[in-house]
């Protein structure tokens, strides 16, 4: 009986943990969907946004002001990236854009540390951090922090998914991802589009950064966390906003269950690769990820 409770506890907390990955993955998806750019810098943006936020907090600014300034900085960043990088790489192959974002990521990482230093910054924005216990003598524990994170992720995803599907801009974004040149030729302003998505991605990064930062402190290892967003992203499909959430849930729950129930047979720490292998098996059945757009193969 208590085994069963334990199972559900693992399942649930795994799913919550997964939504944290989703938050990072979401930023990737936005930019990929809107420009076909595989944005390697998203992890660094999470870190940078959080650093800015926490930096202003430490200067004694009120939370709202700090958040607003951080958002403003992310928008300015979006402008910079568009001006100095993307604009010059219109219509290049995806791998080259990918590479450029790696350059951007390095720059931002150096810049962030340059400005804010390499220390760990504790962050507390007042997300409730207690646990509820349910079941016979608290057999199952639900952490409020995780729950809050999951709710925020869910909200963001819903809003963004609606935005992509039902607005004129959303359609234009998808067009850009398909063919930069054709998008230009029908009058879609790539520059503005890019600034918009990078700004939105910056905002998502800030949210993700604040949540992660509240758990771990804002520090450079956050950019390592971002790697885990990759299997989530791939499993859900690069182009799907809801996919980021579902991918996160599956990866989160899958790897926790695997670690606990299969891990011991292999000496543990299988979490490190399990997510990728899980994603790979999903891909064997759906090469475009769970919710990704069908890969068009025609001659």
């Amino acid at each position: 009986m208590s085994e069963l409770w334990f199972f559900f506890e693992v399942l649930l907390s795994g799913m919550f943990a997964g939504t944290m990955y989703s938050l990072v993955a979401l930023g990737f998806v936005l930019i990929f969907k809107a420009s076909g750019v595989f944005n390697f810098a998203q992890g660094t943006m999470v870190l940078f946004a959080a650093l800015c936020f926490v930096g202003f907090l430490e200067m004694g600014l009120p939370m709202v002001v700090a958040a607003l300034i951080a958002i403003a900085i992310m928008v300015a960043w979006a402008f910079t990236v568009e001006r100095l990088v993307l604009r010059h790489l219109v219509n290049q192959e995806p791998i080259i854009l990918f590479m450029a974002t790696i350059g951007v990521s390095f720059f931002l990482e150096g810049f962030g540390e340059f400005i804010w230093g390499g220390d760990v910054h504790p962050l507390n924005v007042g997300i409730p951090d207690d646990a509820w216990f349910v079941g016979p003598d608290g057999a199952m524990m639900i952490q409020q922090f995780d729950l809050s994170a999951a709710v925020i992720a869910g909200l963001l995803v819903t809003v963004l998914a609606l935005f992509f599907h039902y607005t004129r801009i959303g359609r234009a974004l998808r067009a850009v991802a398909d063919d930069h040149q054709a998008a230009l030729s029908v009058g879609i302003p790539l520059n503005q589009i890019w600034v918009i998505v990078w700004s939105v991605a910056g905002f998502v990064a800030l949210v993700a950064g604040i949540i992660w930062g509240s758990r771990l402190g804002v520090q450079f290892s956050l950019s390592i966390v971002a790697l885990k967003a990759l299997p989530v992203l791939i499993l859900g499909g690069f182009t799907s906003v809801p996919g980021a959430i579902v991918g996160g849930l599956i990866i989160g729950a899958g790897e926790k269950l695997a670690e606990i129930y299969i891990g011991p047979f292999f000496g543990g720490a299988i979490e490190e690769w399990f997510a990728y292998v899980l994603a790979m098996f999903f891909l064997l059945f759906r090469p475009q990820g769970l919710f990704g757009e069908r890969i068009i193969e025609r001659v």
């Binding site: 907390s13 390499g118 220390d119 390592i224 885990k228 490190e272």
Partner: protein, 412 residues
């Protein structure tokens, strides 16, 4: 040359930067203080230089190659990373430059017969493990109380984290306890939910942690999430510093850790360190000094300076070579009186290094506890069970010697 060149392979950036920075400043400040106060070691100024490795082995090797012949040749190398230490052992031995890996690196390098150029005093991971269990036994009222108990061992799944496992196995057998291993994957070390849910279920009597970097803060957070009693959670000396607990906030209160150096600024030597800062020659900012890792840096500096003095006593008061430094380190004998004279009482343990024992004669640890604001030392020196560990060290060193065609030197 007219100066003693001490390069330092630091890492102040990247994910591990928060832990690497204070150490580097501790070393730098101590050496700067010696230069300012004494005009160097016995009148020979120290040239200190840092090379950033980012905690990456290949960068470390490059740094080593870059600095080893500069400025008249490096006198001693501090790699500050287990991986870099491993990569440099043979190189440094061939180049006759001693490696000082203070409480990290290759444990079996304590066997000075096989590793003449590697020093890892004042203690090794294996000894530390025995000492931690000694502490637990003391808390519980004797080793016989450990029998039948279950412990948890949370570690980074990496050679560093796995180091104490053979020792733990022996201890478990000897004292009749069991322990569960909880490896944390290095590439996703901030994801420990499954581990702590398991711990919540199995309720081990104590949890011992061999962690590093962001893994530590995550573990402490998760431990408090699952309401694990904090004072039964003990980290090793690389898992109990300010960067590990500060981000966790209130929840970290009560967390314990091993250490081999004191913490805080209430030591005599701070008179001179403060003077350094007042003279504007400090390398950091004054409000940041005094933490666990900074102190460890100071201690490292002190050991080096004292070893140089030993070498100079034999070879003359001049800039010494790496080979001479090896002599200095190998004959380092810092007893309580000498330490008191240096103003370091309480900050560092006495150490006596010999030709065959590079970790010092009486390895011991302190247990410290985080009170929410600062670390408090909670124990006296707890001696390690060297009788148990020494054979293990010799066995591993012998295997290494065999694989690498090394004939151990004789130390008699």
């Amino acid at each position: 040359a007219d100066q003693i060149y001490i390069p330092n392979l630091v890492y102040k950036t990247g994910p591990y930067g928060p832990s690497g920075t204070p150490v580097a400043h501790g070393v730098a400040d101590y050496l700067a203080m010696i230069n300012m106060r004494d005009g160097g070691v016995n009148g020979v100024p120290i040239l200190y230089e840092e090379c950033e490795t980012g905690y990456k082995t290949d960068r470390g090797v490059e740094c080593y190659d870059r600095v080893k012949n500069q400025n008249g040749g490096a006198v001693v190398i501090n790699p500050w990373s287990t991986g870099i230490t491993y990569a440099l052992i043979e190189k440094a031995t061939a180049d006759k430059i001693p490696i000082l890996s203070l409480g990290y690196g290759r444990t079996s390098a304590a066997d000075g017969r096989v590793f003449p150029y590697v020093f890892n005093f004042p203690s090794t991971y294996w000894n530390q493990a025995t000492a931690i269990f000694k502490y637990i036994a003391d808390q519980e009222g004797g080793f016989d109380k450990l029998k039948g108990k279950n412990f948890g061992f949370v570690y980074l799944d990496h050679p560093y984290g796995k180091e104490p496992i053979p020792t733990l196995d022996i201890l478990a057998e000897k004292y009749g306890f069991t322990y569960d291993k909880y490896p944390v994957p290095p590439a996703s070390m901030t994801e420990q939910k499954s581990i702590w849910l398991q711990i919540r279920r199995s309720k081990p009597a104590y949890v011992i942690m061999w962690g590093w970097g962001a893994m530590n803060a995550t573990a402490i957070t998760e431990a408090s999430n699952v309401k694990y009693p904090m004072d039964h959670f003990i980290g090793n000396w690389w898992a109990a510093a300010e960067p590990d607990v500060v981000p966790v906030g209130e929840a970290a209160k009560g967390y314990k850790g091993a250490t081999f150096n004191g913490v805080g600024t209430d030591f005599a030597v701070y008179k001179d360190i403060n003077a350094l800062y007042d003279a504007g020659k400090g390398t950091w900012s004054k409000d940041q000094i005094g933490g666990v890792l900074y102190s460890r840096g100071l201690v490292t500096g002190a050991y080096m300076v004292e070893a140089i003095k030993v070498a100079q006593a034999k070879f003359g008061n001049r800039a010494i070579t790496g080979e001479e430094m090896q002599y200095g380190l190998e004959n380092l004998d810092l007893d309580a009186a000498k330490i008191a004279k240096l103003g370091l009482t309480g900050l560092m343990p006495p150490v006596k290094v010999t030709c065959d024992n590079h970790e010092g004669q009486n390895p011991a640890i302190l247990i410290q506890q985080w009170n929410g604001k600062a670390w408090e030392i909670k124990s006296d020196w707890i001696a390690a069970d060297t009788a148990l560990v020494r054979p293990l060290i010799e066995q591993d060193a012998a295997q290494y010697a065999k694989e690498n065609n090394i004939t151990p030197r004789s130390c008699s």
